[in-house]
């Protein structure tokens, strides 16, 4: 730790280390940021190769950006690099998108919401909002009336071009425009209304015959401004918004937010609640993987497999409904524990489900995995190398298929995960088939986790006592959880009020979509859809 501090100090003399923070946090001057970032990435002894998230926030007098870095080679050492710019009129920072591919979308997001321009970013467009949007919504002085809802038809503007900022030799900022697609490109728009984009996503794909040349994902069709809403919601209310991010990992997201608040409050959660929450998380994961499997099969034209997956997912939904009342959104974890105690039938039904699911998995392999067409197609397309996976931030099952050990249940165990034995499923090759198989194998692991917990749920309270109005102490709080798509991170910046100052969710799906470009380039259209299915992204998680 001290060694790391010294090294950073040597690279960036202005660096100031913050005291009493959860993770090692360093403040640097914005002019030293790029130099520091380059060293953190490229220095073998530091090797911060995974940029998990870029969090932009309005500090009042300045606009700040937090870079959350991890070193996959150095025991997942975490580091937060903070920088800020005082210029609110024309804020600029140096882009790190040449170092980490994941920064590409993150910086566009920060630009979109806070208006910070990143010099050297190859494609600085708004990410979620329309190009004609006025103002930057996450700034505290944003006027909510500045974009009234028009009742007339707005002209549909095709944003063909993009802005690019570069530094010329004199250190002046030079603006230039470039075209995303050539005039001769055959650009096909997949979405926003399309059966296989798994949500309201638009992919503009330029084709050469059947072969994909270039993909441009276009987000924001269902953006709900959840992060902005969070700033005026109390903590128990925000829980409901969490579920509506990645709706297939609803219980896990909600659990994650509870954990973050409980950590900030230093609240002891009863063991009973911890166990039940873990079981719920794993059931959610199974349900999500089943749907992921089913819709991937459907993307390849195997409708029967789709129905099989939906049929078995229904059993989990029924279990949820009985105990929690909700099916997709269980509304079950609350700050301090659970909403109510488990249903008397819960353990019995879960125990019935485990052997049933094991039997069905064999059927899936017979029906689909070993089908010659399915196998040939999955084994022939969609390779993602481990370096790309880390650079693009492809976490979760998709990253593990590229042999990246990134399971947060193992790295930073939370809830009851340090009390159970389970394997982290990884595969070597990073192809579509590997991503497919990781999901099915993870279902087995989840079943084994549930099996270890279900008979050992301790007696006692299901909820700790909390104050009627929950106020978090001042500070910044991070909590990572492993949702069904990967690294879901919750960032809460609290000023001590009953509402947070800034909340940021890291969406694993966003990086999955950005990883389409390296994975699909040069493959056929049919494979674009199949690889999309194998990455298994959920759009509402991106369009927060």
């Amino acid at each position: 730790m001290e060694n790391l501090k010294e090294k950073i100090q040597a690279i960036a003399p202005s660096a100031v280390f913050e005291e009493n923070t959860q993770v090692l946090t360093v403040d640097v001057d914005k002019n030293e940021l790029h130099q520091l970032a380059e060293n953190l990435k490229n220095d073998e002894s530091l090797a911060f190769d995974y940029l998990q998230d870029i969090i932009g926030l309005d500090l009042g007098d300045a606009l700040g950006v937090n870079y959350r870095l991890f070193s996959t080679k150095n025991n997942n050492q975490a580091l937060v690099v903070k920088t800020k710019t005082d210029d609110r009129e024309n804020p600029t920072l140096h882009s790190v998108s040449n170092l980490w591919q994941s920064a590409n979308l993150y910086e566009r997001e920060v630009y979109d919401f806070l208006g910070i321009k990143f010099i050297g970013h190859p494609d600085l467009r708004r990410l979620f909002l329309r190009p004609d949007w006025k103002g930057f919504p996450l700034r505290k002085d944003y006027d909510i009336e500045s974009n009234p809802v028009t009742l007339k038809n707005e002209s549909v503007e095709e944003f063909e071009g993009s802005e690019k900022l570069e530094l010329d030799s004199n250190g002046h900022i030079k603006e230039s425009n470039f075209q995303l697609f050539d005039d001769k490109d055959y650009v096909v728009s997949f979405g926003p209304q399309h059966p296989s984009t798994h949500g309201v996503l638009q992919l503009r794909v330029s084709l050469n015959g059947e072969t994909v040349k270039h993909i441009d994902p276009n987000f924001g069709y269902i953006h709900r401004g959840i992060e902005k809403m969070c700033e005026s919601y109390t903590y128990p209310k925000i829980l409901h918004l969490c579920e509506r991010l990645d709706y297939l990992s609803a219980a896990i997201n909600r659990h994650g937010f509870c954990l973050c608040v409980e950590k900030a409050l230093e609240l002891e959660v009863p063991e009973r609640a911890v166990y039940v929450r873990t079981i719920f998380d794993e059931l959610t994961r199974i349900a999500s993987h089943l749907l992921g499997w089913a819709s991937m099969a459907n993307d390849m034209g195997a409708i029967t497999a789709f129905i099989y997956g939906m049929r078995d997912r229904e059993k989990i939904m029924d279990i949820f409904e009985e105990t929690a009342g909700g099916r997709l959104f269980t509304n079950y974890s609350v700050i301090g524990g659970l909403m109510q105690d488990i249903h008397p039938n819960f353990q019995k039904r879960v125990k019935e489900f485990i052997p049933y699911m094991r039997k069905m998995l064999k059927e899936y392999h017979t029906l689909f995995t070993n089908n010659p067409i399915a196998k040939q197609r999955m084994l022939s397309a969609g390779w993602l190398k481990i370096d790309d996976a880390i650079s693009y931030g492809v976490t979760g099952p998709s990253g593990r298929a590229s042999n990246w050990h990134n399971d947060i249940r193992k790295i930073e165990p939370y809830a009851a995960y340090n009390k159970v034995n389970f394997n982290e499923i990884t595969r070597e090759n990073g192809g579509s088939f590997d991503r497919y198989m990781v999901r099915l194998d993870e279902i087995l692991e989840s079943l084994s986790i549930i099996e270890q917990l279900i008979d050992n749920i301790p007696d006692g309270d299901y909820k700790a006592k909390t104050k009627p109005i929950i106020k978090l102490p001042e500070g910044e709080f991070y909590q990572r959880v492993e949702n069904a798509r990967g690294d879901f991170n919750i960032y809460i910046n609290s000023k001590g009020d009953k509402t947070p100052y800034r909340v940021k969710f890291r969406s694993p799906s966003e990086t999955l979509v950005s990883a389409l470009e390296p994975t699909v380039k040069g493959e056929k259209i049919a494979d674009l859809i199949m690889i999309g299915g194998s990455l298994d992204y959920v759009i509402p998680c991106i369009d927060r």
Binding site: Y186, V188, L207, E210, A297, M300, G301, A302, I373, D527
Partner: protein, 356 residues
């Protein structure tokens, strides 16, 4: 066994002798009767097949299928038909209007012309050419014109990609299907469908023709399946990537035409397979077992024909609802590198075997 010639010659007799019409009017009335009967059969078979597909598909997927309209959902298909007839036909701006409206008719006419040449039962055969097989191959490929026109005239990128795929796919698989049928023509020594059926009286070709017939049968089923544009060969439609492929822009009865043609094409492919490989309407005869053969003869020929067709259709549905879709390069590889060389070798081998 009941011969449908009795009915047809009675009608002919009625018109010529009892009503005293001359040759022209007799033929004119007969043509109209045949046309109406075929059209009715065409629509009826499509309806039955749609119902059967929905029920069988539900069975494969552990569902119940339609069961609300009528007993066991029997009237569901008719209700759907009425719905599709009353739906609005949406004209597409900036589409090639004439070709856009013409395209479905090519598809319907293509399959309808084939329909006329099928021997449904003993004596129930509208046109019996001496080049029946050639005729069937020729008119059944008319449909591809309709599909390519539909994709082109819709002015839609998905449709165009679907149409291009359809063109590549249908023309490729036509070769294997044709070669497989030619193998049976070599065995039968005739291109006339009635002769081919008659020559299977002492055993269907699938049993009589040995390994050649079996290979040709399997190839024909695969190639024929590909020609019907149904999964795993439904690339021109491939709803997961091209939404609905070449017929994305069609609505109402225009879409209905494609829908009906898809099902009747499935029937036609099964009917041709039945006629060429499974003995058409010919009952199962085992040489030497006269008693057994006589019992088999009591079953009407139409039952034999439609029963065998149903078997082939069931095979097609089974494959469709179990297999994922092929990719375009795999699809073409399957045809040009696997099926076509095998059928060429097969036809050469059978020619040698017949000569010897």
């Amino acid at each position: 066994m009941f011969d449908f010639k009795i009915v047809t010659s009675w009608i002919d007799n009625l018109l010529r002798v009892d009503l005293g019409l001359d040759n022209f009017w007799t033929l004119a009335i007969e043509f109209i009767l045949v046309g109406v009967a075929l059209l009715a059969a065409y629509a009826l078979i499509a309806l039955v097949l749609i119902y059967a597909e929905r029920k069988i598909c539900a069975f494969f997927q552990c569902r119940i299928g339609p069961d609300r309209v009528g007993k066991w959902g029997l009237i569901q298909v008719i209700a759907d038909m009425i719905k599709i007839l009353t739906k609005e036909i949406i004209p597409i701006k900036r589409s090639e209007k004439l070709l856009f409206f013409l395209a479905p008719f090519f598809v319907i006419i293509g399959s309808f012309l084939t329909f006329g040449a099928l021997p449904f039962a003993k004596g129930l055969h509208a046109i019996d050419f001496n080049i029946g097989v050639l005729y069937i191959l020729a008119v059944s490929s008319l449909g591809v014109i309709g599909i390519v026109l539909a994709g082109w005239s819709s002015n839609n990128k998905y449709s165009l990609i679907g149409a291009m795929r359809a063109g590549a796919q249908l023309i490729s698989y036509e070769i294997s299907a044709g070669l497989a049928l030619m193998t049976m023509v070599v065995l039968a020594g005739s291109m006339q469908l009635s002769t081919i059926v008659e020559s299977q009286a002492d055993g269907w070709f699938i049993f009589k023709g040995g390994i050649f017939a079996l290979v040709a049968f399997v190839i024909y089923l695969i190639a024929g399946h590909a020609e019907t544009n149904r999964g795993p060969f439904d690339l021109p439609e491939s709803e997961s990537e091209l939404t609905a492929g070449y017929h994305t822009e069609y609505s109402g009865i225009m879409f209905g035409f494609y829908y009906v043609a898809e099902y009747t094409n499935l029937f036609i492919i099964s009917a041709i397979a039945t006629t060429m490989f499974l003995g058409g309407w010919m009952p199962l005869h085992i040489p030497g077992l006269d008693g057994f053969n006589q019992v088999m003869d009591y079953i009407p020929s139409a039952v034999w024909f439609f029963g065998k067709c149903a078997f082939c259709i069931f095979l097609a549905l089974w494959v469709r609802w179990s297999y994922p879709r092929l990719r375009i390069d795999q699809l073409l590889k399957l045809e040009w590198k696997i099926l076509m060389p095998i059928s060429l070798i097969n036809i050469a081998a059978v020619a040698v075997a017949v000569t010897i």
